[in-house]
Amino acid sequence: MKQKKFGIVDILILISLVAVIGLGISFIRRPEVVEQVETKVIRYSFEVTNVGEEFTDNMDIGDSLYHSSKDTYLGELVDYEASPSQIFHRDTENGEIVIIDNPIRIDVKMIVEAEAKVVGGILKVSDEDIMVGRGLPIKGKGYASYGFIVEIEE
């Protein structure tokens, strides 16, 4: 029986095999990148506008607050203040815009305390970015609303 000789194709196969094995080893031995995560307790103000007074009637200091759709924890309610909702009135007679208090609706500024992770410079509570201007659907035990983060204290 005649012995087969090594051809160019066999060499190509060998090179491919070595390359695949090399890539596999380098992938397995790749060092894991461990990002340093700092945690800190923060307080952020969360503003809900144009709600009825029944909103705060159901609110208690110490309430746990959650993301309305994800059910993730967003912090503890440590304080809140209510003020009349604002109506921007375009006074076309005198040529000015004036703010008038809404007699039946209120704005509520909720102060929330939470332990935040600092990831890449951004504050995160349960993976939610905590930054001014960020809108979130938030809920307590017996109330819920959509609002915006307006202030952050670190």
Partner: protein, 173 residues
């Protein structure tokens, strides 16, 4: 005796051709990209209208600004100013007036960025396309907002900028 090629050999040859073609295409694309001019320093002005004092207070000079749409670094905020926000009103007498909106502000940002110029436009840090009058979503580490690019210009603050050492040297002279 010469060995005949079988279907596995043909498959490998096709694979090799495919790899070479892909590399060729990639090389071609890279060559196209390499026609970009070098990054140039520019100051981009962004106007954020109708925001409250919370947003104005949360933006600081020296903050890094990111494009919220593209999730990329945009540049460094080198200037911040604010003024009352305005709207156009037609009064009962038919006059067209620009009137102030109480408790609302126009936030003006100057952002130092390195842009690359291509035939299709200017790209901040080579990634985020910037055009005057384009609206984008931006963020720093502590605040997010939408704003409109109002100008792209060469930095002027550098001409009289001196390092601390240079300032001392100049004073001694």
């Amino acid at each position: 005796m010469k060995r005949k090629l079988n279907w596995i050999d043909y498959g490998l040859i096709l694979l090799a051709i495919a790899v070479v073609s892909i590399l060729g295409i990639k090389f071609g694309v890279n060559q196209e990209l390499s026609t970009e001019k070098e990054l140039q320093e520019r100051v981009v002005e962004i106007e954020v209208r109708g925001v409250r004092n919370y947003t104005v207070d949360a933006v600081k000079e020296g903050d890094a600004l990111y494009s919220n749409d593209m999730k990329h670094y945009f540049g460094e905020i080198v200037g911040v100013d604010s003024k009352p926000s305005t709207e156009i009103m037609i009064t009962d007498s038919g006059d067209v007036l620009e009137v102030e909106v109480p408790e609302r502000y126009i936030l003006g940002l100057q952002v130092r960025t390195d842009i690359s110029e291509r035939d299709t436009g200017y790209y901040s840090e080579g990634v985020t396309e910037i055009k005057v009058n384009s609206i984008g979503s931006y963020r720093t580490d502590r605040v997010q907002f939408s704003g409109t690019v109002t100008s792209i210009s060469e930095p002027t603050y550098r001409t009289d900028y001196l390092q601390i050492g240079e300032m001392t040297k100049k004073t001694e002279e």
